[in-house]
């Protein structure tokens, strides 16, 4: 027995579920004590239920764990990380919150719900208090927190330090997204080998909406109000989303228009100095440097840069003037670590550090 906090994983057999296991199986604060998946898997051992797809060998202790059904009755840990697809999440996640669980979700189902915080701890950790406006929380302490889409998260990490210092008005972004973002089996090899697919369903809308919420600000409750709310940032984003033949790591070409003028060195300084709550609190999964600027002309690249900061840093490069807006750059982040499981684990750590789990 350890003194670690027990945690569960919903959707434990999928691509993101496996990343949760990778990040949590040896975690200093948390211990996986419960794994759930679809009815097809429930009752089997994890090694029977999952087609393990990571280079890290499946830890034997996890391999032997029995997969539970995705129902709150079967779950003992208060803290549950959820790697469900949106349709499943729509039903399952509220049931867990209603049953008093702290649901840290990676799904898109409730990201834009008014009382659900959509959080990147470095960017808007101060949005957590809206948890207290959730009806579940008021009843029995259950609640839900989400992290953004894998394509929004790297971009917003790069935007946040600039937004704070100079204000961002407009953003053009064209993504080149890795296949792991579509889960497993996900993208058929016949569709992507030697090819580009210039389309990812709903992704462009998600990037546009989530960025405004993430960069928005917490508004205190009015006297007559229901508690604090999030005012979305006043910026416009236009996204073009593409799938490319890369295993992990989303690369994005970005043009931005600022509200205040900034020199290249100001921008690079803003990125390199960006250090926030998770760094101050020394959260275990927080990277030392959340945004790293690489000065080589051909960086960042997914193969070389996606694992920076153990997959939790966004890497930026190619800062240069834009002849329509102000600046152009490229940003890269690991889509299943920083963009999914790692994002949720960091949210879980922030919740713990700020007392939401007790």
């Amino acid at each position: 027995m350890t003194n670690k906090i027990p945690v569960g994983i919903l959707g434990a057999t999928g691509t993101v579920g496996q990343r949760f296991i990778q990040l949590l199986h040896d975690h200093p604060w948390f211990e996986i004590t419960w794994l759930a998946a679809s009815d097809r898997s429930a009752g089997k051992s994890y090694s029977e239920a999952a087609k393990w797809n990571l280079a890290m060998p499946l830890p034997p202790k996890i391999a032997a764990m029995k997969v539970a059904p995705s129902a709150p009755e079967s779950a003992t840990p208060k803290l549950v990380f959820a790697a469900l697809d949106a349709t499943a999440a729509q039903q399952i996640e509220p049931a867990f919150a209603a049953a008093g669980h702290a649901v840290v979700s990676n799904s898109s189902a409730f990201r834009m719900a008014e009382d659900v915080p959509l959080v990147i701890p470095e960017v808007n950790g101060d949005h957590l208090p809206i948890i207290k406006t959730q009806s579940w929380y008021k009843k029995n302490g259950g609640f839900m927190v989400t992290n953004p889409n894998c394509s929004a998260i790297g971009l917003v990490l790069a935007l946040a330090p600039l937004h704070r210092r100079f204000g961002i008005d407009k953003i053009f972004v064209a993504t080149m997204q890795a296949i792991s973002g579509a889960g497993y089996p996900g993208v058929p090899s016949m569709d992507i080998l030697g090819n580009v697919i210039p389309y990812i369903a709903k992704e462009e809308d998600k990037m546009e909406a989530e960025s405004r919420k993430l960069l928005g600000s917490l508004k205190e409750s009015s006297p007559a109000g229901n508690g604090p709310t999030i005012a979305p940032a006043d910026l416009t984003l236009s996204a073009h989303c593409n799938r490319v033949a890369v295993e992990d790591g989303h690369t994005e070409s970005v043009s931005i228009k600022l509200r205040k003028p900034a020199q290249a060195e100001d921008i690079i300084t803003a990125w390199n100095e960006f250090s926030c709550l998770p760094q101050k609190l020394k959260l275990p999964t927080a990277p030392e440097q959340p945004v790293i600027y690489e000065s080589a002309p051909d960086r960042p690249q997914p193969r070389l840069d996606r694992d920076r900061g153990r997959g939790m840093s966004a890497v930026v490069g190619r800062l240069r003037p834009c002849n329509i807006f102000d600046w152009k750059f490229t940003v890269l982040s690991h889509n299943t670590i920083r963009g999914a499981a790692g994002a949720a684990v960091l949210n879980g750590e922030l919740l713990k550090a700020q007392g939401y789990l007790s």
Copy 2:
């Protein structure tokens, strides 16, 4: 013996040189009678000198031809297609023009020279008359014509019909370019397999400058003038150029701001109806439809669409509103056919049809 017009190829052993051979070896008007390459290759048979890299087997007649040195003394055909890199072109192409050759160049060396037409026959075939302002032409009928960069050509084909009808003010474009655009050996496999390289040297500047010249207009000579000139189009383009693991076919994500409002159906009609000089003149390499709109939500894709119109059509898709500019779309074209060798062959055909070769 045939009655065909003899033609030569400079840089015949490289990636684009091989495409020239593919497009010209069975051409109804032209016959390859002379092949030149670097000194290392000169004197060898073509099959010894070149590492043939196309799926079409090397035609035996070409295989047996002797490779000539890249000097005008050794060349008999008036019409010479040039697939040289910019450094070699800088020296060799003027020497050929000075010796009375019609040099149809694919290199970037002289694209922006004031008296050299930069031509896509469907877009600005009417720019050819500035040939007559070239000093070589005045002396002995030699001249030079160029085609644009492989990343500009698909984009400008998609822009031209819209520019004519509605006027284009601003363009954002992010490219995902095929490896064949870098020639052979070109991109090392260790750099691109499972990766993206967010950088192609000088490519963004070329796209920005060439687009304005291509969409520009011919200005008649003033009475005191030296002959007609090209006034570049009044538009601004911001480009982000990326290399991806695709063999052939450049895919581009585009946002445009128009000068006059246009509905989606107006734009699609403009593309599908775009038919120009090469189509009217029935030039052998001209595609029936230079711009094809595909309505499926996930098209165009390089693997499926690059060979449309025998590699000479640009394929457009995903037209949808842009929440910063007016419209977003994706365009694809075959970078070594429409974007290089096919572009030059079509230029050669237009020159012939309009009497510049006699």
Copy 3:
């Protein structure tokens, strides 16, 4: 109306079904008049039912055809090409033969059945007479003919000319098979991008069994017998099957032990001179040269050689001594043309030429 023979396609929406459409839609002898697929597709137009996945645009006439259910009642053509998976074929193909259809199957379900010819026209077109021993044939002229597995077909094309001249005793073969061999969606991109999968279910057994039947000989019926039978060839094959990140084209490393000694030039001559029934009968889909020897040291390669003979030639190279057996070589063939749809179409043409369809 044409005078062409009407043909149907079972399993018309899948990877091999699409290749059937590519090869048959403009065929000089056959005309597609009937397309069938699973119940999910039946009733829809072909363009609604199929995710068309070939570079050749879907012919409009086919796009508009209505997909029929996979039942003989709905089929009018006598000749039906079948691209079903083995489980579906097990039930559907006999039903069609029983209803009087000539079923030309690409599935593995009945390849090893004693009275079903397993045929590569160049290799063992003389096995067709065992059709007459099928009970369906005796009743109403319906019958079934099959072609081999996509990994066996290229290999056996390379072995056949050597087996005839020198006799083959033992064969080692290690395959590197293209993803299209697994159909669509087939191999998940996360499994194969930058990877090798050293396993294809049942493939090794198929290669071993089918090769012996293909290279076997027709034995006349004994006076008391039921008609002619096939005596499998007396040879041993050991196969290692691997999946690699190639779109089309199976590459195979082969070592062979011959029964009679042969020099390299004898072997190359045997390959290059190999010309058989389909070539003599000038069957429309027959390649001029069924086996092509390429002498360059690094050939054959899928990207460069799979389309030789319009995808119907096997390309052989790297003939060199083996220090355990006699000779080593590499063979390549297009797995969805020569290895599947093209194989069946050629079988259909042979059946027509030899009077089995009247």
Copy 4:
């Protein structure tokens, strides 16, 4: 200052040189104090001279080191790891041995020289004594040790435990080798993307010769002799070498004929129990388990298994009967770690542990 043993790296800027830096920069016994490369690089800082190509960021201390010329005069460490191509090694390595250095080479130049040990520590660490027969050693203690080719090393690790217990008579092997095996820039992407190259110059001969030396035995000197020698193993190997689109990790399909019968469980036990000198001596780079058997039917795979044992374990799978020889299996190993730099570092550690460096 540390008490670590200073070491140098020849060919420090290439693919294998970079892996040396990765493995040595934080090594418990060794400290990089000298880096050399070609004249083009000498005099520059390492970060200027090398295009760093690994996901691990270049350590700042190494980045700042000055690159020395490849001449013994400039080298202070006795122990020098060499990552030179064969042509360069032919001249440079003997010069270093003659100057008293311990040259631990990864090149093929001297692998088959009679007095040079070709060593995999787990397999034939007992071959080191032939160092003492080298003329350099006799003069001033300089000497040379080599490791095998990257394609031989995984194979021989899998063969060695079987050879010890059952004797191996014959081996068929077909390789699917990663692009990193060809160095940088190495394989052009146009040659390998979506393709297989069935040829690697000289590789098949190396596998055949090196395997016999590696599995050979040390013969004591005869009274009149010059010292101990290596008697090659009495076995025959036939290799087919192919290049595939994989970044790291060579996969090999193997059939073997044993001298004594063995059951599947005997073979698997032999692999899993294989533990040797490097494990007993607890050499820092030695993997806990040099050969790992994976029982899943589709393993080993490069993407999932190449990093087992920090890239130093060979992973074996798919053991099944061969119908020509006795057994078939697949083996995988990381070609630039276990197959190159890691192999040499382990050799260096063994030399240290056995007193050859003092």
